[in-house]
């Protein structure tokens, strides 16, 4: 079965052509790879390709989404199966315009500089988050309306958590 796969926003097709235990023949677009691939530790794969030994580490970030580390690089990879395509086709109209402020790492909300309903200018600081003795300011790039504030000062937050919902000014 042919799947779509997205790696750092680059779309390819991927297909398992043959498999015998840990030996597999896989096509990525029109490139054919015969690999010896085995999960040696949880989320860690050892891959032999033309004799060369590769070590790849996976972290599943969501269902069918992975953060993949090779020796010096890191990729976001998403497997797009028929289910995903179906779900994507349904929700695309709904959430496309939504924009959230979020942080890449966990931390603590130090200060929120806006109120719901405020109109802010590109470059304005919206929220300050601290982690590991360092404070980071999160700004908007373009003029926005503060639709909803989802956290309060002093809250402990997860990485990638939605903090503030923004809305484009043109939409109003």
């Amino acid at each position: 079965m042919l799947y779509d796969i997205k790696r750092n926003n680059e779309l390819s097709t991927i297909e398992l052509l043959e498999r015998n235990k840990n030996k597999a023949k896989i096509a990525v677009d029109d490139r054919i790879y015969e690999v010896d691939i085995i999960e040696v530790e949880n989320g860690v794969y050892s891959i032999l390709l033309d004799g060369v030994s590769y070590n790849v580490e996976l972290i599943q970030t969501a269902n069918k989404k992975y953060s993949v580390n090779t020796l010096y690089n890191s990729y976001d990879v998403e497997i797009i199966d028929t289910e995903t395509k179906y779900v994507n086709s349904r929700k695309s109209t709904d959430e496309d315009d939504a924009a959230f402020i979020s942080t890449p790492m966990p931390g603590k909300v130090v200060k929120i500089l806006v109120n719901e309903g405020d109109v802010v200018k590109g470059g304005d600081t919206i929220i300050i988050v601290s982690a590991m003795k360092m404070e980071s300011e999160y700004k908007v790039n373009t003029d926005k309306i503060i639709k909803k504030i989802l956290v309060k000062e002093g809250d402990t937050i997860e990485g990638h958590q939605h903090l503030v919902l923004l809305e484009d000014i043109e939409n109003n």
Binding site: Y33, E39, G43, Y45, V68, T70, P106, M134
Partner: protein
């Protein structure tokens, strides 16, 4: 005799101190904040007590709580590690009043060295070279211009109570003097409640070189040679090495003598570090003294063959220093790399989180001082230092190769770390040649930030691994049998099986 030590710290340094305690047959007591229950120092210690909530000003900085645990556990001594209360004169005094040995210097030494103007005065009296400049706070703005022009531009305006770059101004032109002094004063006032500022000549292409000293309570004081700490990012040390690649035996000898003189000038006791600023011609000036163990102490330990924590404890035990200056030698070369939980590709943003997988580097010439483990969640409240990788080899070139080998084998997933950045530093020509100063990272930003475009093959391998995992998960779902063959997945499957059969 010290039989039990409370370690008033967390993270790698707490574990490191406890290791030496264990080797000496001394019991260790950990203290921990509420968020640190699962931290390694709690697991490693003989005893462990909670001292308050996560924010350090409600736990690790609360003197009363720490003293209470020390008394309850009948600890003879307290080791403060670095950071937190390690340079707190009040804490040193309080320990003394309570009859507990503080493993560190007296409040007098801490206070004298803690105030930069007082330290400069004391050093000048002890004939230790200080950076040309004023040794009294600047009162009169007009006088300031006169003094600065006498010293010669460029100069630095610095807050006497300062640190971390606050209340600090670089002045290159005469016209900027007045505004720089006023703004430094007001920033100092806001930050430290003290607007005293002083003036230092600005050293071009400065090197940061520090000397380790040890002093006992019987008047003996020695130095254990230098550490080169010029690889810094925003005043944060990144890589340290010893010996310094720019040092000569003559200058080393001179600086060592001045380091000892500096320590003696404050009747120092214990382990301390004299930081010097050094120019390209090896003119050197006293910068400040750190009255505690440094993060980078292991490179000295390796090259001089000494356990600095054991020496601290022996000194606190009132023993006479057994190390003699003329018997100490530097053997080979050591480099330390600090592994931080931060994302070098994203402006070094701190990156706390859950350690999903860790492979530590092993083998010849590698020391690893860390505290995280698989399944441990690094809290958001403290310093992002995860561990320190220390390598040793007979030569500097070989030590660099060894560091690269160790960084290659060191894998942490779940969080971003500085490992790729550290690896790139090892490849920069000026680092390899040992020709660098504190501007190193800034000067080489382009090559340090550049990432090679990976080959199509490597990118496809990443996709293949993810795809294969996806397929295996589908397979597992349709036939959830207990894979025994090669041991992968044993954790999941073991647990899954249990849940089914329970």
């Amino acid at each position: 005799m010290i039989k039990k030590i409370l370690v008033a710290n967390r993270g790698e340094i707490a574990v490191r101190v406890m290791r030496s305690c264990r080797e000496m047959g001394i019991k260790s007591v950990a203290v921990f904040s509420e968020v640190d229950r699962t931290s390694m120092h709690v697991r490693y210690a003989d005893e462990a007590y909670c001292i308050g909530p996560a924010p350090s000003n409600e736990s690790y900085l609360v003197i009363d709580n720490i003293i209470e645990v020390a008394k309850k556990t009948k600890a003879d001594a307290i080791h403060p590690g670095y950071g937190f209360l390690s340079e707190n004169a009040e804490f040193s005094d309080r320990c003394k009043r309570e009859g507990i040995i503080f493993i560190g210097p007296s409040s007098y030494a801490i206070n004298t060295m803690g105030d930069k103007i007082t330290a400069r005065k004391t050093m000048q009296k002890a004939n230790v070279p200080v950076v040309p400049g004023t040794i009294e706070p600047i009162q009169d703005l007009d006088k300031a211009v006169e003094v600065i022009m006498e010293i010669g531009l460029p100069v630095m305006i610095k807050a006497s109570a300062g640190g971390g770059g606050k209340g600090m101004r670089l002045v290159k032109y005469e016209k900027d003097i007045l505004s720089a002094v006023s703004s430094a004063k007001s920033e100092a006032k806001a930050a430290f409640g003290d607007d005293a500022v002083y003036i230092e000549k600005y050293i071009n292409s400065p090197h940061h070189i520090e000397f380790q000293v040890l002093a006992d309570n019987h008047g003996n004081c020695i130095h254990l040679f230098e550490r080169e700490c010029s690889v810094q990012r925003r005043h944060q040390k990144v890589i340290e090495e010893t010996p310094s690649p720019i040092m000569t035996p003559e200058v080393r000898d001179d600086m060592g003598k001045h380091a000892v003189a500096a320590a003696k000038a404050v009747n120092y006791s214990g382990a301390g570090t004299i930081e010097f600023i050094v120019d390209d011609d090896l003119n050197y000036y006293f910068l400040e003294m750190n009255t505690r163990l440094q993060v980078e102490h292991p490179i000295t330990e390796r090259v001089v063959s000494v356990d600095l924590v054991k020496e601290q404890i022996k000194i606190a035990n009132n023993e006479v220093l057994s190390l003699k200056q003329d018997e100490l030698v530097q053997n080979g070369h050591a480099i330390e790399a600090r592994i931080y939980a931060e994302d070098p590709d994203n402006n070094f943003m701190p990156n706390p989180g859950l350690i999903k997988h860790i492979t530590e580097p092993l083998g010849l010439g590698v020391r690893h001082d860390g505290y995280v483990y698989e399944g441990y969640e690094i809290p958001i409240h403290y310093d992002p230092l995860i561990s320190k990788l220390i390598v040793w080899a007979p030569t500097r070139d070989e030590a660099i190769e060894r560091m690269k080998r160790a960084l290659y084998a060191y894998k942490i997933t779940g969080i971003k770390t500085s490992i790729p950045f550290l690896n790139r530093i090892m490849d920069v020509p000026s680092f390899k040649e040992g020709k660098y100063n504190t501007h190193f990272i800034q000067d080489n930003e382009a090559s340090l930030m550049e990432k090679e475009e990976p080959s199509q093959k490597l990118k496809d391998i990443a996709s293949i691994a993810a795809f294969f995992n996806y397929l295996e998960r589908i397979e597992e779902r349709s036939a959830p049998v207990f894979k025994q063959a090669n041991g992968s997945n044993w954790k999941n499957c073991g647990r899954k099986k249990n849940l089914e059969h329970l």
